[in-house]
């Protein structure tokens, strides 16, 4: 992960945020992310985010569960330890369906939760940089990533002109790290030279 420079602006109203996102994209700035207190319908489309592939991952996990169940039960009941249940054939597909269904759901659910946590970089004891704590309360926080060619002062002024408040510049780690928040300045001090 790398430490990068960001211009951060907050919006107080959803109705201001949507046109602002559009204008920022039109002006050619790169939006790192928009942090909001609640899920906002259509914001992903406005930001031009691609469709998540989480459901494809879910399908693959589900199929894995189905295969595990069928091959596992199939092997156990037909060759490893065949038992006679009420005169039924050893290969009794209808009786296996409930377990197969449950393993499919289990694999898909657990796999998708873990994948989701990985994609969002969330895990126990793992920390991420917070651009503004009010993003969990009443602010819609837009974070613009600075490239070497970005004029920081201009970007700040631009954010102000489209209705942002609390505009500031932050150097922040983009990834996740193990640690505590009271020591979370550490990566920056160590890597000051790496900042663009």
């Amino acid at each position: 992960m790398a430490i990068k420079k960001f211009v951060v602006g907050a919006f107080t109203d959803e109705a201001v945020l949507f046109p602002a996102v559009k204008k920022v994209r039109q002006a050619g700035y790169k939006i790192h992310d928009v942090y909001t207190p609640m899920a906002i319908h259509g914001l992903d489309k406005a930001m031009g985010l691609r469709e998540t592939s989480l459901h494809t991952a879910g399908f693959i996990y589900g199929i894995t569960g189905t295969t595990t169940a069928l091959s596992g039960i199939g092997w156990i009941f037909t060759s490893d330890w065949p038992l006679n249940f009420g005169g039924k054939p050893h290969f009794s597909l209808p009786a296996w369906i409930p377990i197969t269904f449950e393993l499919t759901v289990l694999f898909a659910a657990v796999g998708m939760v873990l994948t989701f946590c990985y994609l969002c970089q969330m895990a126990p004891f793992v920390k991420k940089h917070h651009f503004s704590l009010r993003a969990t309360d009443d602010h819609f926080v837009m974070v613009i990533e600075c490239t070497p060619r970005t004029n920081v002062a201009e970007a700040q002024a631009f954010l102000g002109s489209i209705g942002a408040v609390d505009i500031n510049v932050q150097d922040a780690e983009t990834g996740w790290w193990l640690g505590r928040y009271d020591k979370d300045t550490k990566p920056f001090e160590m890597n000051k030279t790496a900042i663009v």
Partner: protein, 405 residues
């Protein structure tokens, strides 16, 4: 934007509905001549019972959809609600036809279909004797009359409430009163639906063909089957009207939700199908397995597996992705497939019990089905053309216009 509010029936459509009804009438006559007296007319009467009950339950399921979404205060389907209404109006002619057919079966003493009609058999049979309070001609006729009569009356009431707001915009207070009135009458319908389709009617009309056998899953299973087909029928009409340039407020967001309904209730159908099959298979009690004997291993095994492929595997795999539910071509294909699949499902319910030895699926069955399809097309278009296509004063219309999933 100017709205095309009034549906004009295309001449070609009218012609096709007439042709299909003609095919149905011709099949009826030819069927009576060919099969009417053969083996007590079992094939003729089974086909009539199968088709009339299936199509009646399918068009009635759209009224259930209408009332269920009303009770849930669902706003998304308002933009194509007139389509649902128009399809549910077919309950009137098809209900009348089904009533006549069922009456013919009972009054005509067709023991070849319902063995419990024979008093001598019942008095000698301990099982049938125990079910005498429920399975007897007078209860059958009274309950059938009440069932179809109330479906028709409550359907008329729901449609009349909906049409009453066509002329004048509603104030907020009037809108609340309108919603409340809808809620009350929908609840009445849903209760009656639970007492009929979700319990007694499949027992009386279909399950009593095997009067000795019973399954507690049967009614739900029949309901799930016909509900999926009902949604598919609605979807087809919505897509047809969209193709003609009507229903401007309905778009792929609404199609997506209809697709989700088809997908979800296909899985629900499979769940009930499997619960019925697996418990009987596992317990292996001969009184119960007799039902699956000729379906699972006998001549009906082809239909048995085809049923699962069309009604479970196809929707599961095809409807799984978001893009397929938003694609008009895939949804049309799947809707037709599901309508046919559940027709086949009810086919094996009826014929698997009346003609056990062989599968006689042929032109006659498709001809009768074509007649009912034509009748639904004719009646639905007639009602659609009579009233505005968009309920422009409905309090939830805006919710439907801005709907997105």
């Amino acid at each position: 934007m100017s709205l095309k509010e009034h549906f004009e029936i295309p001449a070609k459509y009218k012609l096709w509905s007439m042709i299909l009804m003609g095919v149905g009438a011709l099949s009826l006559i030819l069927g009576y001549v060919l099969y009417g007296n053969q083996d007590g007319g079992v094939r003729f009467w089974s086909a009539l019972l199968h088709n009339s009950v299936y199509f009646l339950l399918v068009v009635n399921a759209t009224m259930f959809f209408y009332c269920a979404t009303t009770l849930a205060l669902g706003g998304w389907q308002i933009s194509f609600r007139r389509v649902t209404e128009a399809i549910s109006a077919s309950v009137i002619p098809i209900g009348a036809i089904t009533f006549v057919i069922l009456l013919c079966l009972v009054m005509g003493h067709k023991t070849i279909i319902y063995e419990w009609l024979d008093k001598d058999v019942v008095s000698k049979d301990a099982v049938l004797n125990g079910k005498k309070g429920f399975l007897n001609p007078s209860f059958f006729i009274i309950w059938t009359t009440l069932t179809i009569g109330l479906w028709i009356l409550l359907g008329l009431k729901m449609r009349q409430i909906s049409r009453s707001i066509d002329d004048a915009p509603l104030s907020v207070e009037e809108g609340k009163a309108f919603t409340w009135k809808n809620t009350v009458w929908s609840s009445v319908y849903i209760v009656w639906f639970a007492l009929t389709v979700a319990s007694t009617v499949p027992w009386l009309w279909l399950m009593s063909i095997n009067a000795h056998w019973f399954s507690t899953m049967y009614s739900w299973y029949t309901f799930a089957s016909t509900f999926v087909a009902g949604i598919a029928l609605m979807t087809l009409f919505v897509i047809y009207l969209k193709n003609l340039g009507y229903l401007e407020f309905t778009n792929e967001e609404h199609l997506h939700d209809l697709g989700k309904f088809q997908f979800a209730f296909s899985i629900f159908w499979t769940y009930l199908w499997f619960s019925q099959f697996m418990l009987i298979w596992y317990a292996n009690i001969s009184e119960e397995t007799i039902y699956f004997k000729n379906r699972f291993e006998g001549p009906y095994s082809g239909i048995f597996y085809l049923n699962l492929v069309i009604n479970f595997l196809a929707p599961l795999l095809i409807y799984m992705t978001r893009s397929s539910k938003r694609n008009y071509a895939t949804v049309t294909f799947m809707s037709v497939a599901l309508l046919f699949g559940h027709w086949l499902d009810v086919y094996q319910m009826v014929f698997g019990s009346t003609i056990k030895g062989e599968v006689m699926l042929g032109l006659f069955d498709f001809g009768i089905a074509a007649g009912f399809v034509g009748l639904i097309m004719w009646q639905t278009a007639r009602v659609l053309a009579k009233y505005p296509l968009i309920i422009k004063n409905h309090p939830f219309l805006k919710e439907s216009i801005i709907h997105h999933t």
